[in-house]
């Protein structure tokens, strides 16, 4: 192996670090108009009147848009193919606003300053309606409304998913110990460095070109077409370099508006959100409340589990239809539980909408189940590692709900090797009592998916073309969100063809050029797109060898492809470089190119176990994470450096989820209290513990070179590991995330 397992720096790293890469906000476009949105200041209201006259009178204002002069098509921004079914509850500018930060109007003007100024002159008269900010209230109302046809979709559950296997009732009846918890996870925000932005402009051919940092150009195309009420063929979408997303840019929020403004005004238009707008008017991670009940015997075998989850999707459904199912999927791929019941329900509230966010339900459900399992271990007076080892699944298990094989799942190796490496037993036994600063250790396990199989269109199409300079053009709708997926794919292609990763040139991600693709979601880049690239490269290699065999007059079996050339052993010294071979073929009217579509046939689990040691100040409630070990079963690390970066970033995010992050919706007004970085606290560098990483590389048969995903799972076990460590340190059972100093001090209250 030359390029697999090579810690290659990210391919566009230098361009980014030196500021040469142009992000959407850097693009200079002649005649570009700028936009300022007017947002709802109330959580739920019918708009009685919008007064725009003053704003219209400002010189430089090109147009003002609101519900009275824009299409009222309903849509759902979560879809990624044209006829995908999803509740259609969003509108460009709804007549009834549903959360503080909902869209009321937009001013498009020659400069941002004019747009800002004019937007400030628009006045809105609301007829305020009752608003609900907590999902428990919505659930209650929905139950009361059940059966009534009179209520709107917002007063009904978004979706309910259930499963029930074995005989959980009998198991609970006979259990020696049942441990029950109510665990809540907060509404959090992605905080990508690049704010949301979109540019749209009319093309000469009459179509509208949309350029935006997105996770799927096809999702943008279909969502915008639906919202605008135009054929998707009248739109073209090009992805711009993306400055981080974490799911926040998976759903096109600005694109439909921007494209409509450009089409109406016949001029290029941009919408560029500021940080505050990104917080309040894009997407969040859904808040969830879980009741988890686990039945065990005295030996620590899990007999049964019952999970009932309420999911707060906020004001619009978006991906809320998927959350109950995706949470369910994660619950039956980690522990061998013979009897299990699950009910997951998502409901609306008048808060900013939830959407995709790294892990898509996994951080919530694993936080709940892992905190409850630790509680169970405490009640059993059993080492939580020992308890988990009695119950974790073995490789090649089949999940009892979907019937899918989990693949070469190495979670047991993660826990075994991790606990030994971390000196778990010794640290766990050491008691931190008697001091102001209490030490504790915690650990948590997690699993996550690899792609959408067996769901919608889980396939990727890659085209490779050998150029006359020996480089390879790779055409595919690959959306590298900044974590280096393109680098990994270049390494895979380079490995097959024995060229350098830098010799692979990626096409524009453009709906005019690329075949349909789901985009970057569901941890599918390395496992699906990587395998598609590997197979296509194998196909190209075959063609190259066939052409070289004719040119060198040597049987394919006697050819060697090495370091950018093909040599044969028929005539010693005779060889041809890949570039010359391409030239040789092209003058004969042939291109060395192949297009292949890879359809996934499996969805193995990625696995991880995280271990943390914390020190808690019982007086101030401050938690210091002293030490951290992340053990990941990822089949094989194509690029260990990028894997490490993903894990470090995942831990940073998970620590925030455990200790700091919460957008904090005001229970009276529905306003977001933590709508800026001075109030929304991310884990910063001084707060990070030393992190050690251990990789379990035992190969996944269906993954490219044995690889599976790490991007999303990296963050999933972090929060429960920290919470479990704090509970170990304090001998408490804190279950409401984040564990703020107030909550910790409450638990250590001076009598």
């Amino acid at each position: 192996m030359k390029h697999i397992a090579n810690p290659l720096p990210i391919l566009d790293g230098h361009e980014k670090a030196s500021g040469q890469l142009a992000f959407a906000a850097d693009m200079k476009i002649a005649g570009l108009l700028h936009t300022k949105l007017v947002f709802s200041t109330v959580a739920h209201a019918r708009i009685k009147e919008i007064s725009i006259e003053k704003a219209l009178g400002i010189p430089g204002v090109a147009g003002i848009f609101h519900h009275g002069n824009t299409p009222d098509n309903t849509y759902n921004s979560t879809i990624w193919f044209e006829d995908q079914e999803a509740p259609q509850d969003e509108q460009m500018f709804p007549r009834t606003v549903r959360h503080v930060g909902d869209r009321v109007a937009a001013v498009v003007a020659q400069t941002q300053e004019i747009a800002d100024h004019a937007a400030g002159l628009i006045t809105v008269e609301y007829e305020v309606l009752p608003a609900v900010f907590d999902v428990v209230s919505t659930e209650k109302t929905c139950m009361e409304n059940a059966g009534s046809d009179e209520v709107s979709i917002f007063e009904k559950p978004v979706l309910e998913a259930t499963f029930d296997y074995g005989n959980y009732r009998a198991a609970f009846d006979n259990a020696e110990l049942i441990v029950e918890d109510r665990i809540t996870t907060p509404k959090t925000h992605h905080c990508a460095i690049e704010n949301h932005i979109c540019i749209a402009m009319p093309q000469d051919d009459g179509r509208i070109l949309i350029m935006s940092p997105c996770q799927s150009i096809f999702a943008v195309k279909f969502v915008a077409a639906k919202a605008m009420g135009v054929p998707a063929s009248s739109l073209r979408v090009v992805k711009t370099p993306i400055g981080g997303s974490f799911g926040g840019k998976a759903e096109p929020v600005l694109d439909p508006l921007c494209a409509y403004f450009a089409k109406t005004l016949g001029q290029p238009v941009s919408i560029c959100f500021n940080r505050n707008e990104v917080f309040t008017a894009t997407r969040t991670r859904s808040k969830a409340i879980g009741h988890i009940k686990t039945a065990v015997d005295q030996l620590g075998r899990i007999l049964a589990r019952d999970s009932d989850i309420l999911i707060d999707v906020g004001a619009y459904c978006t991906g809320g239809i998927f959350l109950p199912d995706s949470m369910a999927q994660r619950l039956c791929r980690l522990y061998d539980i013979k009897n299990q019941r699950y009910r997951g329900r998502s409901f609306y509230t008048n808060t900013p909408p939830a959407g995709a966010y790294r892990g898509y339900g996994s951080p919530q459900i694993h936080a709940m189940s892992e905190i409850n399992l630790d509680h169970t271990a405490r009640r059993l007076r059993m080492d939580p590692v020992e308890f988990r080892m009695k119950n974790l699944i073995h490789p090649n298990s089949v999940d009892p709900v979907m019937g899918l094989e989990v693949g070469n799942s190495r979670i047991r190796d993660c826990v075994e090797q991790g606990s030994s490496h971390f000196n778990w037993r010794r640290r766990w036994s050491a008691s931190g009592k008697g001091n102001r600063f209490r030490r504790g250790v915690g650990m948590a396990c997690a699993t996550h998916i690899n792609g959408c199989f067996p769901g919608f269109h889980e396939a990727t199409t890659v085209t490779l073309l050998l150029r006359e300079d020996g480089c390879i053009d790779l055409t595919c709708a690959l959306h590298d969100l900044g974590c280096g997926s393109n680098t990994v794919i270049a390494q895979i292609v380079a490995e097959v063809l024995d060229i350098l990763p830098g010799q692979i040139e990626f096409s524009e991600v453009d709906t005019d050029i690329c075949d349909y693709d789901l985009g970057t979601r569901a941890s599918r880049m390395t496992y699906i797109a990587g395998e598609a690239a590997r197979r296509t490269a194998m196909g190209l290699k075959e063609q190259i060898l066939l052409a070289a065999s004719l040119m060198l007059n040597c049987a394919v079996g006697n050819l060697v492809m090495e370091e950018g050339k093909v040599s044969g052993n028929c005539e010693p010294g005779r060889c041809v470089s890949l570039g010359d071979l391409a030239l040789h073929e092209s003058v004969r009217g042939k291109l060395l190119t192949t297009t292949q579509t890879y359809r996934a046939t499996a969805n193995p689990g990625s696995y991880a176990a995280h271990f943390a040691e914390v020190e808690v100040d019982i007086l101030t409630g401050a938690v210091k994470v002293l030490d951290y070990l992340a053990v990941h079963d990822l089949g094989r690390a194509i690029n260990p450096q990028l894997v490490e970066s993903q894990i470090h970033g995942g831990i940073q995010m998970g620590l925030g989820y455990a200790l700091f992050e919460n957008v904090d919706i005001d229970p009276d007004s529905g306003c977001m209290n933590a709508d800026r970085f001075s109030r929304y606290h991310l884990v910063n560098a001084p707060e990070m513990p030393p992190v050690e990483i251990l990789l379990i590389e035992k190969g996944e048969p269906t993954g490219p070179y044995g690889a599976k995903a790490v991007g999303e799972i990296a963050t999933i076990p972090a929060a429960p590991a920290i919470v479990n460590a704090v509970n170990h340190a304090l001998d408490t059972n804190l279950t409401e995330l984040p564990l703020t100093p107030e909550r910790i001090v409450d638990a250590c209250r001076i009598p």
Partner: protein, 300 residues
């Protein structure tokens, strides 16, 4: 940026006076800009912005046995080493060290922290505790000297008139023979964090007898302006520094929090957290360990 009619960038006090003397519109001074730039982004529009960052006469530290005098445009990062010169102002250095981030410390200035008058401004309680005098240059060219509580009157509000420029801060170092001081704060994070509570203690400490002959205590972020805790001072003044001293100190701090923010949501948190902060500050001040407060010793 639209709507700023005038800007000026004087290099001397004289030039500044000449610029502002006849100007009748609103004047904002900018030094580091760590607060003003944000205010401008949010729509604040003074009629004139005067950049004082190039005035060397505002960027200095003078120190002798009797006092320390610091130029108003001295960056916070320049204050972090002052404790090496005089332990009486160790609190100022400690506060400077924990101020914002490295980038903010390099830009933000002592005078700016006073003029912004933020309830959580970390330097303000220290300046009050050290009994500072603030030198102000008025628009008509006259000067005045004011105490901190005469300048900072409410959250975000000062008594300064339009065009008044803070030029220097005087710290008298006059608390007895052996003034020592310490500062501590509680934020959400260890660095780049706004204080939820901070505490400054200045003591005249007789090492041989372990007596705190005099003591001044100021808390920040429990009210719109820094709060001098005179009742805590009274209880401790002249006492021997031992575990009972620490217990009484922490108990009195809790009482002071209860009195300052009764019924406030944060009261239940801060009344306990202030003990942790108090312990940290005591240990830093006297260079020795103290045990958990008596009321906590039973719960372990």
């Amino acid at each position: 940026m639209t709507g700023i009619a005038r800007t000026a960038s004087p290099e001397t006090i004289g030039e500044t006076s000449a610029i502002v003397a006849g100007f009748t519109g609103s004047i904002a001074y900018i030094a580091g800009g760590t607060d003003l730039i944000i205010a401008l982004e949010q729509g604040f529009r003074p009629d004139m912005i005067v950049d004082i960052s190039r005035m060397e006469a505002l960027n200095f530290v003078e120190i002798n046995f009797k006092h320390v005098r610091i130029g108003a445009a001295t960056p916070v990062s320049a204050l972090t080493k002052l404790n090496e010169l005089h332990k009486g102002i160790a609190a100022l250095s400690q506060a400077a060290e924990q101020f914002g981030s490295a980038q903010i410390r390099n830009r933000a200035t002592l005078g700016g922290n006073i003029a912004s008058a933020k309830p959580a401004g970390d330097l303000l309680p220290v300046l009050m505790c050290l009994d500072c005098h603030i030198e102000v240059l008025c628009r008509d060219g006259s000067t005045k000297k004011l105490a901190l509580d005469e300048v900072v009157t409410d959250s975000g509000t000062t008594s300064l008139d339009n065009g008044d420029l803070i030029t220097a801060i005087n710290l008298p170092l006059q608390l007895g023979d052996n003034p020592i001081s310490a500062f501590g704060k509680i934020g959400r994070r260890r660095e780049l964090t706004i204080a939820r509570l901070n505490l400054t203690v200045l003591a005249d400490y007789q090492t041989e007898t372990s007596l705190a002959r005099d003591i001044r205590i100021v808390a920040g972020a429990i009210g719109p302006v820094p709060l001098r805790l005179k009742c805590v001072e009274q209880e401790l003044r002249g006492r021997k520094v031992d575990q009972t001293f620490a217990d009484d100190f922490l108990g009195a701090l809790t009482g002071a929090v209860d009195a300052a923010i009764p019924g406030r949501y944060s009261q239940t948190y801060k009344r306990q957290a202030v003990m942790g902060l108090g312990l940290d500050v005591l240990q830093s001040l006297f260079g020795r360990e103290f045990s958990l407060p008596a009321c906590l010793r039973g719960m372990t």
